[in-house]
Symmetry: C2
Subunit: 432 residues, 2 copies
């Protein structure tokens, strides 16, 4: 395809949706991306740019002159323009902002003044707000007569003279009401307001919980400063829900477009931490070195106890992390969860213990079968409790439970697996 024929490439790409063109860029390697971009310059609309993966966009924008980036940013809605510019480094940010119209620049600078990943960064400033005294007819006339209003919106915010939101009208309510009815009788007074400083994870939970399509964003004085629409939030809902698997494995952001050195530094950190926890387990084995020399079966079987414990701990930890992330696990039901996981772990532990105990008794000795079965029950139950308590503890300390729990849970299940098995074997006089 990309072997020279730019005209053909253009024809093939032209009928695609901007989101599909963006996907196409992501599938190409960096050199091919630039070739394709130069072949289809006039199809590179702002929609395509706003659909691109963060890393791919950053890579492509860094290759363009500041004036070209500024031109693209001016065509975007504030939230998309902010996304584009916030990824650039400081010098490039300043260069691009300097090339923009003063009005657009001011909007973006004000958005950038809010904390990273806050509602203020995500919101659109373009919205429709009207005073309370209008009728449905007045509102429709206002919408028809004002060219500057946005074309796509889902609700009209009703505000008082201080620009504080007092109610909201879904457009379908407006369309179904006669012209003479007052907006005050159509609007709903209860609405979910989003403070401008709120973290995006919390924003995503509110949208999900209250099934919001859009919501008003207010500053610290309660004034309406922007709106959030669900199409900007679904990406965050999906990212926040999906990142737990990546965080628990220690893979960082885990985006396949992330530069190599970022992926390396995110992951190697956790491997080094894991090396530390593995050394703890090794110290425990070393303490039983004499026993292993006498009975090599211990060395053969000990990884089984540790491995099953690790798996059981990871299962419980995944459930706990998800329950914390979705606000289903709070102080009031932690004890119930712990008791529930204790029972699940006990059942699991006994099941596995019977299987491995019988197999060991048959191959080695009945006594070694009893020892490994007991060690297995102990380790799986400890794994279940650690799988709840470690993430809960991190959460109470204000840390993200997905990030660091794995290393600790693995350390506990590995160490306890080796300790319980080797310790019981020595206590039973097996290696005497």
């Amino acid at each position: 395809l990309e072997a020279g024929d730019e005209g053909l490439a253009y024809e093939l790409v032209e009928p695609l949706h901007p989101a599909d063109i963006a996907d196409l860029f992501e599938l190409l390697d960096p050199r091919e991306r630039r070739d394709l971009a130069s072949a289809i310059t006039d199809l590179m609309s702002s929609e395509v740019v706003s659909e691109l993966n963060d890393y791919v966009r950053e890579d492509m924008m860094e290759a363009l002159p500041a004036a070209a980036v500024a031109e693209i940013a001016e065509q975007l809605e504030t939230d998309d323009a902010v996304q584009l510019i916030e990824d650039l480094d400081d010098a490039d940010q300043r260069a691009v902002l300097a090339e923009m119209e003063p009005e657009d620049r001011a909007a973006i600078e004000s958005a950038l003044s809010y904390p990273d990943e806050s509602a203020g960064r995500l919101m659109q400033r373009e919205l429709v707000s009207v005073p309370e005294h209008l009728t449905v007819g007045d509102l429709i006339d206002y919408l028809r007569d004002n060219e500057d209003l946005p074309t796509e919106f889902f609700e009209v915010f009703v505000v008082d003279h201080r620009n504080h939101p007092v109610g909201t009208c879904l457009l379908s309510w407006v369309l179904r009401a006669p012209r003479h009815i007052a907006l005050a009788d159509v609007m709903k007074r209860e609405q979910t307001l989003i403070p401008v400083e709120m973290d995006q994870e919390e924003v995503a939970l509110r949208f999900q919980k209250y099934a919001l399509i859009s919501a008003a964003v207010v500053d610290e004085n309660g004034r309406l400063v922007g709106q959030l629409t669900v199409d900007d939030i679904v990406h965050i809902i999906s990212e926040e829900a999906g990142e737990d698997a990546l965080l628990m494995s220690g893979a960082g952001e885990g985006d396949i477009n992330e530069p190599l050195r970022d992926a390396y530094s995110a992951r190697v950190r956790w491997l080094v931490a894991n090396l530390g926890t593995a050394l703890v387990a090794s110290l425990i084995i070393a303490a039983f070195g004499a026993a292993i020399e006498k009975l090599v079966a211990l060395a053969i079987l000990m990884p089984i106890v540790a491995s099953i414990g690790g798996n059981a701990g990871t299962q419980t930890m995944a459930v706990t992390v998800r329950a914390i992330a979705t606000n289903q696990l709070t102080r009031s039901n932690t004890k119930r969860m712990l008791w529930r996981e204790f029972r699940v772990a006990f059942l699991n532990g006994v099941t596995i213990a019977v299987l491995i105990g019988l197999a060991t008794a048959a191959i080695f000795t009945p006594m070694l079968g009893v020892v490994i079965a007991l060690a297995m029950v102990i380790n799986v139950v400890v794994a279940g409790l650690a799988g709840v308590m470690v993430p809960v503890a991190f959460d109470r300390l204000g840390q993200d439970p997905a990030v660091a729990s794995s290393v600790f849970v693995t350390m506990i299940t590995d160490s306890m697996g080796f300790f319980a098995f080797l310790g019981l074997a020595v206590a039973a006089g097996l290696a005497a």
Copy 2:
């Protein structure tokens, strides 16, 4: 709170949003749930019921007579009513349906005829569709005059005489256009149509990718049969993105309200599978039993190689599973991903190898340091490649890569860790 005073409980619950009342029920244990429900019967609106967690709702509905469940179901929109009824067992389903009005019953039975987790189960039948020849003014009059239409909707579907969708109008476009303009000039002809049989995961990806607020659902003949709105999809986006962490750990659905025996049977299955893979690793250790008897340091150090490999493999696997789930990894860029992960794994492997090699050389012997360093590089690189290839292989075989990859990746990293370390040690003559 629940110690007797029903009046007080009522007063406290009354001002809450239905979604908050639903959360409150989820935090209580099953007996308390029934007490609270009886204290606040008239606050138990259909909104509260539709916001409840599936398991909690099922548990509460099973405690109610069929007529009461039918009454609740009739107040709900079709999609919520279907959700309520599909969880009940067959006999209860029939009893509840028998108590419903014929029209509602027919709608629910038709939804239940679509496959589980398909668009047909999720869609609302209530929607606004109009013929193409109307003007904006005609549409507004139609919306004002017809009491039967839904009150909340985000777009109007334009259909031809065979009820095939030909275009769609966002309400904001209608409100901003003068009355005399034809709908044909306001509507957008390109729209994302959802086939009624489409799986909910695919539906969620479409909503995300094309930033949809609502979408038309069509049957196999292309006729408009319902609509999906984003507020019903956000739950699925979040569930589908969040379940990978649970599936990879083998924790099944991992809902904290899941009955104990379901949680046990989902998890024990994977622990048994893990027992099988742990036995493979043990067989490898057993083959080197004589070497371990001669040099017990091998038993002390071997879990380190296996553990770091397992962690590195899990990192790569989490990244790969996420990339497959978000459609970022396809046939065309798998080779690029494999090459990228090879390089990350090599850098990670060398870093860890240097650390553990130096420590081992200092504590044991320099030769053992060289052996563990080499084994570590080999195992981390193998882990990186397996972390990509195993989930990709499952995906190509039509299996969910999140479900079974873990067991295989762990088996590969454990076995390779023990084999590379013990095999190299023997080859180096360390245990001669």
